[in-house]
């Protein structure tokens, strides 16, 4: 059952105009306090260098400076591995690593002051590629790797600092040698995906102040208020309750506004200044803050003559840059997404999260699945070609159905991969001819384990207030939760308020990531509303999902709830220029039950459009660790006139539970487009699919077909 696009005019009965159309919405960058100062960061110009001396003697007297000496005694932090200090104290590890900061009376005064700080460095050898960084003799980034006590470190990590590895995740399912021995056909390929920038329209922005009684208050655009509070508590040696995080709506995030970004630097400046300090990043600094993991992925896939998959071996190298951030989690999810939603008796996966001297890479819409699906689903088409099978039939023959075991050992339930594949194939006209067409399917885990909790309070005027830590970044979570509450309370949605989350007030929530919030909070809400109806005043509910994987075997519960989808693309290629044109893109996403149709449609359209950018042109370029396209002129994101025909199905089932869909449609898009190219005989291994790469692959095919057999 698919839901059609809504008619204009449907679904809006509000009297007050939405603050997004009047400009009245206030983001983190708009928060102001009296007497506040403005911060600016001083960054390393070297990819790897010892910090010898930071000289602030030229600064005007009214400028507050933060130097390594100010932060040396503070705690190490990191949401999964404690590998970071507030500033680079001993060594700067990437071009852009903060080594000092200033606070001044205006943004301009701060920028000017930052230029007056002189830093002496001793340059050290650097490494930028993840595979090279694991080789003997490569420069080592971190000597000790302590596992974080933050609850974002939710799985066993296997760091190997002597070869720059912060996590090595394995899946050991079946006997891989026996599996390949049983295979009639084996295909093997290596793929690369580049780093990409989230480009939230609103840059990172935060403001900190210390109260007279020594509490730290931070206003910041964050998807992770509680994880942030835990790390700040560790840095400043404070009990968590002495720190208050207020999380205004964000002008986009896409994974970038997670964990500690600049909040610690701003808090240190505010403490030293005795005044509130605010930082709003310049656009180019976004590329020096957090990006998507570049990956190298090797896939070996074996099957019987009839297309039955028997063995798959995958090695992933996820380049996490200078600091781990949540890279171990990304590498793990990349690892367990890479087998794909198939029944395969013998699966081995080794996924390495590797330090290099690049800016840190972390959560990015798709969270490892984009890279994994590119490699995995491109390989399925290589296999289909080798076997002379229809790529759709090959997938349908092997795809997981309810009751099957995944390679993690967990039994799959409520899975609809075949439906998604059939839907996209139908919409792209697969059966009328496959030339120029390609498809791809995805399974993506939701954060497991995690906990969501929520309080619903009855107000004197008959309205209700929801106290909930879920972050709003444009995905519509606040409205979805209000709609669910209103439905259960039997009142119009306007009578349910959702104040800006404040950790002094809202109960704990793991974080707003992995498309979990509507599903998890929606379940927590049921109990909260039940309690409120009982006592008429206040109700509390929580939802816990339990599970996790053994990092050495990959066995356990990867996800209690799977995001499922498929994409299909139709393309045209100008073989003279390599220009690739996507004519039509269709996705089918299993949505279970849609709460707010326009928001769900927007999330899916946005995922597809972001996937299109990743497929066709988004790539951060580096020269010896220096980002060379840190602006929106050289780094392009999709615009309205770049789009092909875009259609999709949000598949619902009567009585089904809610399925998060904030990022499901993104990962299969590049692979579907890559497979459409492959149907024309053009095999491109690396993203994005630039005219240069398409032309080169097209030339390679001509040479190959011209060669004597």
């Amino acid at each position: 059952m698919s839901r059609a696009m809504p008619e204009p005019g449907e679904n809006t009965h509000r009297t007050e105009p939405d603050p997004r159309v009047t400009g009245a919405i206030r983001y983190a960058q708009d928060v102001e306090l009296p007497d506040m100062l403005y911060a600016c960061i001083v960054r390393s110009p070297y990819a790897h260098a010892r910090v010898l001396r930071v000289d602030t003697s030229s600064l005007p007297a009214d400028v507050v400076a933060l130097t390594p000496d100010d932060v040396r005694a503070l705690g190490l932090y990191g949401c999964q591995i404690k590998d970071q200090q507030v500033l680079a104290v001993e060594r700067a590890l990437y071009i852009g690593d903060p080594v000092a900061a200033v606070a001044a009376a205006s943004p301009r005064a701060a920028r000017e002051a930052a230029e007056l700080i002189e830093v002496d460095y001793e340059e050290l050898p650097a490494v930028f590629d993840a595979v090279e960084a694991m080789q003997p003799g490569a420069p080592l980034l971190h000597e000790d790797l302590a596992i974080s006590d933050n609850d974002a470190a939710y799985f066993g990590m296997r760091p190997e600092p002597q070869r720059n590895v912060c996590h090595h995740f394995r899946i050991r399912h079946g006997d891989i040698e026996q599996g390949f021995a049983e295979a009639d056909v084996i295909v093997e390929e290596t793929y690369r995906t580049p780093s990409a920038q989230h480009v939230p329209m609103e840059p990172h922005a935060c403001l900190a102040r210390w109260t007279a009684d020594g509490r730290l208050e931070v206003w910041t655009g964050t998807q992770t208020p509680f994880n942030l509070r835990m790390d700040l508590a560790g840095i400043f040696g404070l009990p968590q309750e002495r720190i208050r995080i207020i999380a205004p709506p964000m002008g986009g995030a896409f994974g970038s506004k997670t964990f500690v970004r600049y909040e610690a630097i701003v808090a240190c400046l505010a403490r030293k200044a005795g005044r509130p300090v605010k930082l709003v990043l310049r656009r180019d600094e976004e590329w020096l803050t957090l990006n998507r993991h570049p990956s190298t992925i090797h896939v070996k896939l074996g099957a019987r003559r009839d297309g039955t998959l028997v063995a798959k071996q995958v090695t992933c190298w996820a380049n996490t840059g200078a600091y781990a951030d949540c890279g171990p989690g990304v590498a793990q999810k990349m690892g367990f997404a890479s087998p794909g939603p198939y029944r395969i008796p013998h699966v081995w996966v080794d996924s390495y999260c590797v330090y290099t001297n690049l800016p840190s890479n972390g959560a990015f819409r798709g969270y490892g699945a984009t890279q994994a699906v590119w490699a995995s689903e491109r390989t399925m088409d290589l296999l289909a070609e080798r076997l002379g099978l229809d790529p759709l039939e090959l997938r349908l023959k092997n795809v997981l159905v309810d009751g099957d075991r995944y390679c993690t050992g967990e039994v799959m339930h409520d899975v609809h991969f075949a439906d998604c594949l059939k839907a996209v194939a139908g919409q792209i006209g697969w059966h009328e001819g496959r030339r120029g067409k390609g498809l791809a399917v995805l399974l993506k885990g939701m954060q497991t384990p995690s906990r969501a909790s929520i309080v619903v309070e009855a107000n004197d005027d008959g309205s209700y207030t929801v106290h909930c830590a879920t972050a709003e970044m444009g995905q519509g979570a606040w409205r979805a939760i209000r709609m669910l509450a209103a439905e259960q309370l039997g009142v119009p949605v306007e009578r349910v308020h959702f104040p800006v989350p404040d950790t002094d007030i809202v109960p704990y929530d793991t974080r707003t990531t992995s498309s979990r919030s509507t599903y998890m909070m929606g379940r927590a809400l049921v109990e909260a509303v039940r309690q409120l109806k009982e006592n008429g005043e206040l109700g509390y509910g929580e939802c816990v999902n339990e599970g996790g994987l053994d990092p050495d075997t990959g066995q356990g519960i990867a996800s209690t709830h799977w995001h499922q989808g498929a994409a299909a693309a139709e393309v045209r290629v100008d073989e003279e220029t390599g220009k690739l044109e996507v004519v039509h893109l269709h996705t089918a996403i299993y949505a279970g039950r849609v709460v707010n149709p326009p928001a769900a449609q927007l999330q899916n359209e946005g995922s597809m459009i972001m996937g299109l950018g990743s497929a066709l042109f988004e790539e951060i370029t580096f020269a010896e660790g220096q980002v060379t396209n840190a602006n929106l002129s050289d780094y392009n994101i999709p615009a309205a006139d770049d789009l092909p025909r875009i259609t999709y199905d949000l598949i619902e089932r009567p009585g089904a539970e809610i399925h998060g869909l904030g990022e499901t449609a993104l990962p299969p898009v590049p692979a579907a487009i890559g497979n459409a190219l492959f149907s024309l005989g053009i095999h491109v291994r690396d993203l994005p699919l630039t005219p240069e790469r398409v032309l080169e692959a097209s030339e390679r095919r001509r040479v190959r077909s011209a060669a004597p057999v």
């Binding site: 204009p8 005019g9 679904n11 809006t12 509000r14 105009p17 939405d18 603050p19 997004r20 159309v21 009047t22 400009g23 009245a24 919405i25 206030r26 983001y27 960058q29 708009d30 301009r108 989230h198 480009v199 939230p200 329209m201 609103e202 840059p203 709506p249 964000m250 002008g251 986009g252 896409f254 310049r282 656009r283 970044m473 444009g474 995905q475 519509g476 326009p598 928001a599 449609q601 927007l602 999330q603 359209e605 946005g606 995922s607 597809m608 459009i609 972001m610 602006n631 929106l632 002129s633 994101i637 999709p638 615009a639 309205a640 006139d641 789009l643 875009i646």
Partner: protein, 168 residues
């Protein structure tokens, strides 16, 4: 650098503000006039998040030197009041997610529809080339522009006057 005073009409009201001679209009609108609907993203005049109308035409305030606004009429989304047909259309269609680019989109579409009351989809997409939306709301933004064109046409029908003359 010595600050200078500049004068312009903002959302119908005359204003006089202090600005540095090398400052961009965006900074002045935000700092001196407290407008928050004009927002910096690219800082290069590419993304349109800082869009205002200057004498009715969309411009990127992040690359317009503030003194060049002297004597001009500047309109921001705050000046539309909240119930302008383009704003109503955005609400009806729900053509936004985070809302950061929305004021710029609304102003660009307002200017487009004043020049071309019934643009086709292709024309709308091309007109939006200078307004980026990272949430990827473009399909619904185009729908909102079409809906706004219909609402404006309805308004013209209801209030015949000099503005209602058909464009030849």
């Amino acid at each position: 650098m010595a600050a200078m005073e500049i004068h312009f009409t903002l959302n119908g009201q005359p204003v006089a503000v202090q600005a540095e001679p090398d400052e961009m209009l965006l900074e002045v609108l935000r700092r001196e006039l407290g407008l928050r609907s004009v927002r910096e993203t690219c800082g290069l005049g590419i993304c349109g998040a800082c869009t205002a109308l200057l004498n009715g035409q969309p411009i990127s305030t992040c690359i317009l030197l503030a003194p060049l606004a002297e004597g001009c009429e500047i309109t921001t989304v705050e000046g539309l009041g909240g119930h302008h047909p383009v704003q109503r259309a955005f609400e009806e269609v729900q053509a936004f997610q985070c809302g950061y680019c929305t004021p710029g989109m609304i102003l660009t579409i307002k200017a487009l529809l004043e020049e071309q009351p019934a643009p086709d989809e292709e024309t709308i997409r091309r007109a939006l080339g200078g307004n980026l939306c990272r949430c990827g709301c473009y399909l619904k933004i185009v729908q909102a522009a079409q809906r706004a064109a219909a609402l404006l046409a309805e308004e013209r029908r209801r209030q015949p006057g000099p503005g209602a003359a058909p464009v030849s």
